[in-house]
């Protein structure tokens, strides 16, 4: 075998600490009055957290290109679904 990477425990604990810190941060951001920026910041934090989990807990950092292609493809398709649907919802009153 030996095709997979064995990560040190310290890395896992570090990632875990970052995730907890980011959770606290996102809650703090939610209660601060930042207007519309707060949504963007909270989403950015969520994306960061998800990336950390995927890269280290799920070993994406060490996996082969094909696996990353699968992940990238799924995310691209999710954006496609949300994006084109939203494009319709948001422009309905613009013309006609």
């Amino acid at each position: 075998m030996g095709s997979e990477h064995i990560a040190p425990v310290r890395l896992y604990v570090t990632v875990f600490a970052c995730l907890l810190a980011l959770t606290a941060l996102t809650t703090a951001v939610a209660f601060a009055d930042l207007g519309r920026a707060s949504t963007v910041i909270m989403l950015a934090i969520a994306v960061t957290k998800a990336t950390l989990v995927a890269l280290f807990f799920m070993h994406l950092w060490w996996s082969e290109r094909l696996t990353r292609l699968v992940v990238g493809g799924a995310l691209a398709w999710l954006l496609l679904l949300v994006g084109l649907t939203l494009a319709d919802v948001l422009t309905r009153t613009v013309l006609g």
Binding site: L81, T85, A87, L95
Partner: protein, 541 residues
């Protein structure tokens, strides 16, 4: 081939119901699927017969309006979700993908069996829902009709489709992993048969699209059953959101149905024109292009639905682009025939019929992608005719062609060739007589899903019903003579057509392990010289 010794193959290796119901052999599972979808095709066909009979006269006189609405709904659901989507992938793909790539089985044989059980369960739930009252929403389940107005068995039907969606996903997952990880030595991506490329592209669509229809139907069921008002306009919900989610799957689903058919046709043409497919790389790439672009065009089902005009322009533009890879395929197939050595065997007749009907279906698709025309013909018989040209004229022609072509491999028997040619011709003529008049009906303005219609539409409807009776005979013939051949057909050799491809290098029917020794590939797909290296009979050892 005299005095052939009784060899052990996948069919006679074991007997009894248990040996079938607990098999993990992809070839046996393919046969389980074949039996199941044949039954479902007959059921869907009976619905079609009743629809066509009702439409013989302008007045609604054969069945009641409610019954008619249930008939076309159930015809659509059975034919799409329980026949066309599994047809080529789950039967021919299941049987052939491992053989074509020199593997002993699919990557996950037990998931493959589970997929069949889920399919049977899903079909059983949906059929049960139909028998105990039916469902009348149309196969499209549009909200708010399906969530608040319909009083029929929407939830169990949706649950049945939901379950069969998992069956479809397990098959797709199996194909993707198998094609990536299980190719035999020397079989590089660009030596793969186009059938395998087509199934790979199809599987990508299945994996990315099917979950969306699953969640969408689940939401419809939850809205009906538990008042979770996701699409409810009374709460500010948007019925068009349902349509977006629905067509995100259901448009690419058209390619789930047609791409495997294109794969079959590539194999048939290469074999019976005796030369590799012209522009192999372009044909392979066009399958992937269709799979990807197919996801960008769903909004062309919604040009008159109240979708924003800007989005409509974008979707129309993208829909035009998806025509290109399909055109590329048709031109390359035609170019393959040029200077070939063309045999007129029955599978080839189906394949050539496919090209003609698919060309018609594809070009009339442009009418629907075109904004100005679609406004007029949307939701009319024009659209009904168009998608039957693709799905019946395309997919079913390819399915029948493929079934004839690989029948000797699957069963070890040949079928009566003259009858098969006659059946092919009858299907082609009957099909055109059934569905061509519907193009005219559509442009005249006859809306679809009408159980009674103004009298001026009657003449064309009579023609269509007459054609349907011919088409019915065309479908019954293969059912009869293929069954007959199981017992009385002449024994087939390992490679009766003189085809290239690994599946022909193992005996007919193949042994459970597919190949006595794992084959090694040194040549491109469809290279007949490769066949000389390893004579098929040698594998009998």
């Amino acid at each position: 081939m005299a005095a052939r010794a009784p060899t052990v193959h996948y069919l006679n290796v074991d007997y009894g119901v248990r040996s079938w119901l607990f098999t993990t052999d992809h070839k046996r599972i393919a046969l389980l699927y074949l039996g199941t979808i044949t039954i479902l095709f007959v059921i869907g066909g009976i619905f079609a017969v009743l629809i066509r009979l009702e439409l013989l006269t302008p007045a609604g006189d054969l069945v009641s309006a409610d019954t008619y609405n249930k008939l076309f709904t159930m015809h659509g659901i059975v034919m799409l979700f329980f026949f066309l989507i599994p047809s080529i992938p789950a039967v021919l793909g299941n049987f052939l993908v491992p053989l074509m790539i020199g593997a002993r089985d699919l990557a996950f044989p037990r998931l493959n069996l589970l997929s069949w059980y889920l399919f049977v369960l899903g079909a059983a739930v949906s059929l049960w829902a139909m028998l105990t009252g039916g469902v009348d929403t149309g196969w499209t389940f549009y909200t708010p009709y399906s969530t608040s107005a319909s009083v029929t068995n929407v939830i169990p039907t949706a649950v049945g489709i939901f379950i069969s969606g998992f069956s479809s996903m397990l098959t797709g997952l199996n194909f993707i992993v198998t094609i990536h990880k299980m190719r035999t030595k020397g079989l590089t991506w660009f030596r793969l048969p186009l059938f395998v490329w087509a199934h790979y592209a199809t599987s990508i669509i299945i994996m990315l699209g099917t979950p969306v229809i699953a969640i969408t139907l689940l939401l419809v069921a939850l809205e009906r059953g538990f008042h979770l008002g996701i699409f409810d306009p009374a709460l500010g919900g948007d019925p068009l959101l349902f349509q977006h989610l629905f067509w995100f799957y259901s448009h690419p689903a058209v390619y789930i149905m047609i791409l495997p058919g294109m794969g079959v046709v590539s194999e048939l043409i290469a074999c019976f024109a005796r030369r590799p497919i012209f522009g192999y790389g372009f044909v392979a790439a066009s399958s992937l292009m269709i799979a990807v672009l197919g996801f960008f065009v769903w909004g062309h089902h919604m040009f008159t639905s109240g979708q924003s005009a800007y989005t409509a322009f974008v979707f129309s533009f993208l829909s035009m682009l998806v025509a290109i890879p399909s055109a590329v395929k048709v031109f390359n197939w035609t170019a393959t025939l040029y200077r070939g050595s063309i045999a007129w065997d029955s599978p080839m007749l189906y394949a050539l019929g496919f090209i003609g009907l698919f060309t018609m279906g594809g070009l009339t698709g442009l009418f629907l992608a075109c904004l100005g025309i679609d406004v007029h013909v949307h939701d009319t018989y024009f659209i009904v005719a168009h998608f039957h040209y693709i799905m019946v004229g395309g997919t079913i022609m390819a399915y029948l062609g493929g079934l004839h072509f690989w029948w000797p491999k699957i069963t070890g028997r040949m079928y009566p060739e003259t009858l098969a040619k006659a059946a092919g011709l009858i299907v082609f003529l009957g099909f055109n007589l059934t569905f061509f008049p519907q193009f005219i009906l559509g442009y005249l303005g006859m809306p679809r899903r009408y159980y009674a219609y103004p009298p001026e539409f009657q003449a064309l409807n009579v023609l269509s019903t007459a054609g349907a009776s011919i088409l019915g005979v065309g479908y019954l013939l293969p059912l009869c003579y293929l069954l007959w051949s199981l017992r009385y057909g002449p024994v087939a050799s390992a490679n009766p057509w003189g085809a290239a491809g690994l599946e022909w290098r193992t005996p007919s029917p193949p042994p459970t392990e597919n190949f006595a020794t794992p084959p090694v590939v040194v040549r491109d797909a469809y290279d007949l010289d490769g066949m000389a290296d390893a004579p098929a009979e040698a594998a009998l050892g």
